[in-house]
Amino acid sequence: MASHAVDPHVSSTVQHHFENAEQQKDASTVGMWVFLLTEVMFFGGLFLAYFVYRQAYPAAFAAASNNTNLIIGAANTTVLICSSLTMALAVRSAAIGKSNLIVLFLVLTLVLGGTFLGVKAYEYHDKYVRHEIPGHHFDCRDEAGKACTDAAHTPLFFALYFGMTGLHATHMVVGVGIILFLIGQARKGAYSPEWHTPVELFGLYWHFVDIVWIFLFPLLYLIDRSGAPK
């Protein structure tokens, strides 16, 4: 174990059951990765349901997917990717000791994440207005007002749409809460190149949430967009 110069600020952040800061950071990082592994399997169950039902009802899924707004979806994806960049830059700023930049990039991440959620809220409202929420008033229709192909099975698509994006959005809301906490800590100067583990670990979480969306976008928005007759 390499010994680092004794930094009173650092040693006060090493918990008593760890030998040193390096072990603590290493253990925390492994812990976050194991947590993300559980999240992969958690979302995985929903991807399985999607996989099964898309295979079973391809026409219904295509019709329902065409009712999502392609440009809004792509733009929102872009927003989320931007937030991943700003988050990565926030972590980098902590690693090079630029406290003010940490706050800046965290705030940008917050704004971009908030924008994503706002757009999702708009989309959900739009689905409500168009009677695409599974339940009593469900009525799937295309742009021309005609009933969707294989309309009887379209509720499955929308159930998965709300389930998967809803779970994703919940993770983002939790993330937004944590960013607020990190901003508060960063403004107090809590993070240094020697210790900025919460920022790093949260960065991992945020990027994971981005990855989930990277898969959700094509699966939910991009089915059969060519409009070619089948």
Binding site: T29, V40, M41, G44, A95, D210, I211, I214, L219
Partner: protein, 106 residues
């Protein structure tokens, strides 16, 4: 006892690399959007997923620093991919073979 090949202090990824990855992600997002409007028949889904996998890999390797990380981290990432594939494909092994017997209901 930390036993990964230690480096003094945190590793810092060059800003340029982050921006390059970012650019690639944006480009790929709009590529996948555009490709989806082209009729490739049954290949649309494969292309879309392939692009998504490339994007996800870029995020994992560079934004999440897995390229620079310990063997244990890489194993955990590999395990999560492997087990997800297991969940999906072993279940589909049932669904895909249900009609194969040629007997009604089997």
């Amino acid at each position: 006892m930390a036993n990964h090949s230690g480096h003094a202090g945190p590793h810092v990824v060059p800003k340029l690399l982050y921006f390059a990855v970012f650019l690639a992600l944006i480009v790929l997002t709009w590529v996948t959007t555009g490709v989806s409007t082209v009729d490739l028949g049954r290949w649309n889904i494969f292309v879309a997923l392939a692009i998504a996998i490339v994007k996800a890999s870029l995020v994992v390797l560079f934004f999440m620093h897995v390229w620079y990380s310990t063997r244990l981290t890489k194993m955990i990432v590999a395990a999560s991919i492997f087990w997800l594939i297991l969940l999906l494909f072993l279940t589909m092994a049932d669904i895909w073979t249900r009609q194969m017997m040629g007997v009604p209901g089997r």
